[in-house]
């Protein structure tokens, strides 16, 4: 017996560490979410330290639910996450099917494709919002500027000049406004996570039943119906996994929002929590609990799926 007890004890450090890591901060968040707790308040200094006598019940939750910021942040979080999911899954499937067959330089293409995934989020955001999307000095600005210049010179051309004078000048888009910066975040995260989807779909495509496929070809099935009736059903499970894992990661998207949208109103839940945490800890904690609930809705499905394959 003792020979087997020691090995089992070996998991206790890991389990204890994770237990403390999960329970203490989360327990505090739960506690703070039920009391009045602000960092600065000259008129009610008793609220500036956490204490049970400042019990507020569900008051913080009510406050958060009634604040415009919260509803906007939830809506915006979902908008950003769903857009990224939609784009990465579609692009991921197309690219995975494209590069799954051998062709010259397949290895190099794979390496090129996977690279964005390893770029740290802060660099990703700084790179895109400045060097690429900036409306004046970035590539976008330069491209728009040169197209306008070209149009200008065409307008002075003989014969066809009148035609081009009907064309308007292009206006560059500033990606630092509220709505457009959400688009910028979607673009940069899609760029970073499409490789992840490609990699997973490719892994899955390699286990596709080749005999079935050959039979389909012999039966004269078109490429489209092979894809529609064999490949796509085969990918159903990996698609579900990609969607859920990305949903969990992107619900806590932070660095990109912080860099692209600081102060311009494009908020998601983690960003809003950060804002609340500058003063109103009660509200920040209540928002945090909502974020946990939202993530758990996805996590339960994901865990169930992982659990099925775990012990195989």
């Amino acid at each position: 017996m003792s020979a087997r007890k020691l090995p089992r004890l070996l998991q206790t450090p890991a389990v204890l560490l994770l237990l403390v890591w999960m329970l203490i901060p989360l327990g505090m968040t739960l506690y703070f979410s039920f009391i009045r707790y602000v960092l600065n308040n000259l008129r009610r200094p008793e609220w500036t330290s956490p204490s049970l006598s400042n019990w507020r019940g569900f008051g913080n939750y009510e406050f958060v639910l009634n604040s415009k910021d919260f509803l906007f942040a939830i809506q915006n979080s979902l908008f950003i996450v769903c857009s990224i999911l939609f784009l990465t899954v579609i692009l991921g499937i197309l690219i995975a099917v494209l590069i799954n067959k051998t062709f010259p330089g397949q290895g190099i293409v794979r390496v090129l494709l996977i690279s964005p995934f390893f770029v740290m989020p802060a660099v990703n955001a700084v790179l895109w919002i400045n060097m690429i999307l900036d409306p004046v000095l970035g590539l976008q600005g330069i491209a728009v500027g040169s197209i306008n210049e070209l149009l200008d010179s065409l307008r002075n051309a003989p014969l066809l000049g009148w035609f081009f004078s009907l064309w308007p000048d292009l206006a560059p888009i500033s990606f630092r406004a509220t709505q457009t910066s959400a688009y910028a975040v979607i673009i940069m995260v899609t760029w970073q996570w499409t490789p992840f989807a490609v990699l997973i779909f490719m892994t899955s495509l390699q286990s596709e039943d080749q005999q079935q496929k050959e039979a389909a070809i012999l039966d004269g099935a078109s490429t489209w119906s092979q894809f529609r009736f064999l490949t796509l059903p085969h990918l159903a499970r990996p698609i579900a996994i990609v969607v859920m894992i990305q949903a969990i990661f992107h619900l806590s998207l932070y660095a990109e929002i912080e860099i692209v949208s600081r102060g311009n109103g494009n908020k998601n839940l983690p960003y809003l929590i950060g804002e609340f945490a500058n003063n109103n800890i009660g509200a920040a904690s209540a928002t945090g609990i909502f974020a946990v609930i939202l993530a758990n809705i996805v996590a339960i499905f994901l865990l169930r799926m992982i659990g099925k394959t775990l012990m195989e």
Binding site: P25, V123, I142, S222, R237, G288, A291, I306
Partner: protein, 277 residues
Amino acid sequence: MAIVAKSSRFSQFGRPVLAWGVGLMFFFPIFWMVLTSFKTDADAVKPEHLIWFTPTFENYLNMTENYDYWRFAKNSVITAVLATAFTLCVGIPCAYAMAFNPSRSTKDVLMWMLSTKMLPAAAVLYPMTFITKSAGLFDTHFLIILVLSLINLPIVVWMLFTYFKEIPKDIIEAGQMDGVNTWGEIKEILIPLAWGGIASTALLCFIFCWNEAYWTVRLTTTDAATLSKLIEGNRAPEGLFFGRLSAVSAAAVGPIVVLGWFCQKQLVQGLTFGAVK
């Protein structure tokens, strides 16, 4: 026959061209960052020097002066290396116990571990700030190492568990017959056998630590600030410093992107928790 001919023409010319196009497109932003890093700040925003310019190394040579790059890089290296080492020290015994002495609860424990990974970090932002500030740990290497270890521990245990499961139990049991104790088993039998799996787990853990961008930004100010914090602090150069910012960004991601090329396969494993095979 017609179908076969058509598809082969596509796979002969269309597929490679399209695939290379897509690959280059995805790589382009990284290429652009590296290209810009060899331009002077003045050249970097001039359309006439978009592609033709005199390359310069000054942005890389002045990284210390401009951004104090090496201080942040040192912090990144210290925290990522030590966090990876610590995670492995805790994770290897745990995965060993789970793989070779599983009990009825092993599966549940493993699932619970993964579930901690799925908690949104922002939800515990204030408690973490509060605890670390009152314990005097805020902005210390120790704190960042601990936090990075904890957020990666579930993935590391999970990956090691899947590698260890592949090792035949007989080999371990033979060791037990020979009277090797538990530590001996881990040190003499398990680690040499699972060396490849452990190495790629460590590599992936290191990459995740290096790229972490929530806690490293929120729980540091100067002393333990990593490269994520450095870049985040220079978010809006307003076009003045595109050259030097590109250089420091390229230096921050370059090594990791190269390391990443070597662990594509493990990435799938580590991020999907083995749910895709």
